[in-house]
Amino acid sequence: MSHLVLRQVTKEYGAVRVLHCIDLEVGNGEFVVFVGPSGCGKSTLLRTIAGLERASSGEIRLDDRLVNDVSAADRGLAMVFQSYALYPHMSVRQNLAFGLENSRMPRDEIDRRVTEAAKMLLIEPLLNRKPRQLSGGQRQRVAIGRAIVRRPGIFLLDEPLSNLDAELRVVMRAELAALHKRLSATMIYVTHDQTEAMTLADRIVVLRDGRIEQVGTPLDLYNNPANRFVAGFIGSPRMNFIEAETIPIAGGVGVQVNGKQQRLPHLDLAPGSKIVLGIRPHSATVTEIDQGTIPLELTLVEQLGAETILHGKTDRGEIFTVSAPGQGRFSMGERIGIALPPEDLHVFNAEGQALPRG
């Protein structure tokens, strides 16, 4: 278990800056997930922590030791690669033992650790096979096993589940969570899949264009996104956004949507401000066409059994998604009304920053 501190870490490739002043602390035993769209710098950040890339400036501290100039091998970290990166010419046993042999560990200690890890990951019967004789899920386990035997200060996992099929991904996700608990290890996990981030993380770090957008627990990010990007990235289906201008209404400030007045949560806003309203598909409610704030023409109806996801277009052409509980009878082209409960509305200013709720 290690404690990681990043201070003002930047990374540049020539004139291109891919990480901007990253400040982050990862505590002992914490499971932190870096999430963001492709190209946001999450993998680069992980590789910089690993020592596979050099930070252009800033400090990386492991247990209070400055490690900027310490080689990847000497940082005491282990990495699980997206491609697994198993040595194809070595058996599973040799793959697991290779790193330990490098550190000239006694043979019986190596054997003990390899057997222990293999038992934990249920790959004991595979120890004498070559990687090419394994399925994707088995390879994934071996890759994780290779990290476990090293007893690293921090496990670094770079999109480890993205090469698995959907079903196996769910299984491995649960196993990873269990493993984290069992080893009480510090883990940093990179993914572009917000579901993985939500289900695995103690804390999520949302990255965009090499900058940290927000850090927080999964529910923190879900309930109080700091900006429009985080609000749109976390949660599935994604949050709906409606542009509006504030007007004075009885008892405070509201907006006019579609000729109807909509109350807002108590906010410190002057009338006439341009804002963006955000509402999650599960918070908006379906009503009769004349009762809702927003009329919606349905373009797609997805029946999921327990709920029905409705996709549609507002009269202004904005795309809107709403979830109706149960198995609703809706048809494409049908017009429905949408009500926006004021307490569930997120309000962002024109720059996309969330406005604090009063």
Partner: protein
Amino acid sequence: MSTITGERGGQASSLSSMLTLPFRFLMGVLNAPMSFLQRRFGIGGMGAVFLAPNMLIFSVFVLIPVAINFAYSLTGGTAIFFDDRHFVGLGQYQTLLTCSDYTTPSTCLQDAFWQSVHNTAFFVIAQVTVLVLVSLGTALVLNREMRARGFWRGVFFFPVLLSPVVVGLIWKWILQRDGLLNAILMDFGFERTLWLAERSWAMFWAIFVSIWAHLGFYALILLAGLQAIPRDLYEAAMMDGTGRMRTFWRITLPLLWPNLLVVIILALIKAVQIFDEAFVLTGGGPGTSTMFITQYIYETGFAHVLRNLGLASAASILMGIVLVGLTALQLGVSNRRARKEAV
């Protein structure tokens, strides 16, 4: 609007029709004979029809000469035409293989043949060993991130494009008595060395020049092999705390081994056949110190006043057997590799 589109379409189609004109003309000409052949042999037989021209050329220039060569090796005399030669059975082989001590060419009936066998064996062992090691080293260096990598790769590959005779002539010009190397050395106050007229130097240069000429080809094969090794593996090895030498021995070399094996065998086959560069460079001299088997065959069969075609044929059959063995080895290796990859 539609007329404009129509015109554009017309222009495009007239251009493409101009470009495909030769092709369509060819197809038109071939159409009749092809349909005739297809009617005659059926769809299944067309494969054989398409292979036939190549097989014909292969037969005329390779298969039939090999058969004739074998037939000549069973005859004696100096006559060229087969009818004028007499049958001697395995006599020529017996002549070639009669030796009281195979390690000493002078005790053999055909001492020149055995001298050339010894020279070739020495050349093959030395040249292939050094060539493979230097190619590997070159490939490892060229695989690194460096400035003007493309340029350096080109520099090493360039000699491969030269004809062997040109290679021989270039180096002869450098190494001869009044050549470039001696001129430079003498400028620096060294004495003139007869690089091509001293036994050990001549062999050294024969080996050196053939390595220089072929290095780029083998380095390229190895470079391709190196680039096929995923970067991830090196990063995983780095995270595992693997030292540079250990990474080379435990990761690079095992994963490069299939390519290395191909390189070794190809280099072996090529080295056994050594002729042109060395012949132009040293002419087999001084004495017979750089005469290789191919040159012995050439001289015995064609250059000597008494053209002993039978003996030359027998020697080439013996050399052919060695080459077939090496080729079988190469095929075996690549088949095994294909099977392994199919698992």
